[in-house]
Amino acid sequence: MQVLYFAWVRERIGLPREQVQTEAATVAELVEELRGREERYAAAFADLSALRVALDQELAEFTDPLDGVREVAFFPPMTGG
């Protein structure tokens, strides 16, 4: 699946998006996998309360399943307007 990063999540990880092969069943499991990769991922995902997630461009929860999802995005709380 495509995994996208925005704002300081993008800056910490150093990528705007990447293709990820995963068997993770939920967003939380995907986050665990990513945290295990490298220090920059661990730093980006250190505090989930400071993060939001969208599945196929809809806001979602970290407990949500990933079945059929093509695009996951991680970002801080929004500050538009």
Binding site: L4, F6, A7, W8, A54, Q57, E58, L59, A73, F75, P76, P77, M78, T79, G80, G81
Partner: protein
């Protein structure tokens, strides 16, 4: 019932006039503009990042929710992304209705949801460096009104 997201500057006065002319049968038009504000002094630029695709979808959902809830004869959301200078207009919403209460409430609703539910992020560039603007707790709290 238009939603637009682009990096180009726009003229809020011209938008309000065109919106008013098109809002058939309206007795009340409310507009809101958000400006780049130099809170601490020394702001050089505001960078606005967004999530292309999701942004348009989120704004359309917010607009649809307002249209379902209030009797509106028009609704408009325009939001810029990219690099903006202090004093520039970041975004605007406008609402038109027969009665003023509907227009005011719908405009506040659009703003409250846009702040916390549309995927935009602001970064401030100052002499001292760059920093992401933190979300305000009271922006999230504002949603509990609706």
């Amino acid at each position: 019932m238009t939603v637009r997201v682009h990096s180009d500057a726009f003229d809020p006065g011209a938008e309000v006039n065109a919106f008013t002319a098109a809002a058939d049968g309206a007795g009340a038009v409310v507009s809101f503009s958000g400006l780049v504000r130099d809170v601490a002094g020394g702001l050089q630029a505001m960078e606005i990042e967004h999530y292309p695709g999701m942004t348009e979808k989120a704004l359309a959902e917010i607009r649809d929710a307002a249209v379902r809830r209030w009797r509106l004869t028009g609704a408009l959301i325009v939001h810029r992304h990219g690099v903006l200078a202090p004093g520039e207009v970041i975004m605007m919403v406008a609402t038109a209705a027969r009665h003023r209460r509907d227009a005011f409430e719908a405009a506040e609703f659009l703003m409250d949801y846009l702040k916390s539910r549309a995927p935009f992020w602001k970064k401030e560039r100052t002499d001292a460096g760059a920093a992401w603007v933190a979300a305000r707790d009271d922006d999230e709290d504002a949603l509990s009104r609706w």
